[in-house]
Symmetry: C2
Subunit: 158 residues, 2 copies
DNA sequence: GCTGAAAGGAGTTTTCT
DNA sequence: AGAAAACTCCTTTCAGC
């Protein structure tokens, strides 16, 4: 039903490029049995559709000086401050992700800090002044794993 | 103090490639005033050091069929089940991140699902059977933002 | 929408400094 | 460590189907 504009070739291309942004498109082309130009056009189409949002190199946070990672659940004083708070959170370099959530918190953010002391500084001198009702900090002392979603949007007809 | 092996050139290279994995290294070379071979060697060095962990294309989760994103906080029945639970969580395709945390929960995971109903299925038929004490679900109904950490590990001497 | 070819660039290796 | 050069391979475009 969804994604009438995407076919098996798109799926195969995405699977090949998603974990290695620097793979030569010609290699993808050979694996898919089409020309390099076709891959080039498909990736452009996928980018135009917004399916592909860009590419990036993955860095090890610890190795660039960020030893502490935490999620901070935020309770706002009033729902009307949502937009303001998020706009201000975005300005804090150490806050790398921000979600509006249902459930426990109003907003959930992911924060990197140099160390635990630095995390405290961020919470006390960067977050609290935004006029939050309360925060709850979940320090990630170990990353269990991180992986990619399966790419499979083609309907398998029975 | 840290990262004696990294210098300003490494920093500049990382800043240039981190948000665009397909940038030509020759373009980086010209911007840095060095040869393409130098960039090639530096990126290899950074990869060897584990600073660079790979590259990836970013896909729009909604556009590949995952409309619901949630964090699930997990309470274990006993600390001794940590490793088993994480190993089993890793086998669930929709669970894309997993952290050992201090604070509210024992484990925090990030889950993508096709829709809210699918999320419930995952929680009930995939997570609960692992023998968890309890779970708390935070549905992300909107992503506020997502960005990269600042890259700056060179000590600025006063 | 794809192919194939052509032209211009880029990636990678080697050699030298 | 990096430069320069050489070689290989890739990207991008376009005519043609």
């Amino acid at each position: 039903m969804a994604h009438h504009e995407l076919d098996e070739l798109d799926e195969k291309i995405l699977r090949m490029i998603v974990d290695n942004a620097r793979i030569p498109f010609l290699e993808v082309a050979r694996a898919c049995g089409v020309s390099g130009a076709a891959i080039h056009q498909r990736v452009q189409k996928l980018t135009g559709l917004g399916v592909v949002k860009g590419s990036e190199f993955l860095l090890d946070a610890e190795k660039i000086g960020y030893e502490t990672c935490a999620y901070v659940g935020i309770f706002l004083t009033s729902p009307s401050t949502f937009e303001y708070v998020v706009k201000e959170l975005e300005k804090i370099p150490e806050v790398v992700e921000c979600y509006y959530t249902t459930g426990q918190y109003d907003v959930l953010i992911k924060v990197f800090a140099k160390n635990n002391k630095d995390l405290l500084r961020i919470i006390h001198t960067e977050l609290q002044p935004l006029g939050l009702s309360r925060t709850e900090t979940l320090i990630c002392f170990k990353e269990g794993f991180r992986k990619k979603l399966p790419i499979q949007f083609i309907e398998k007809e029975a």
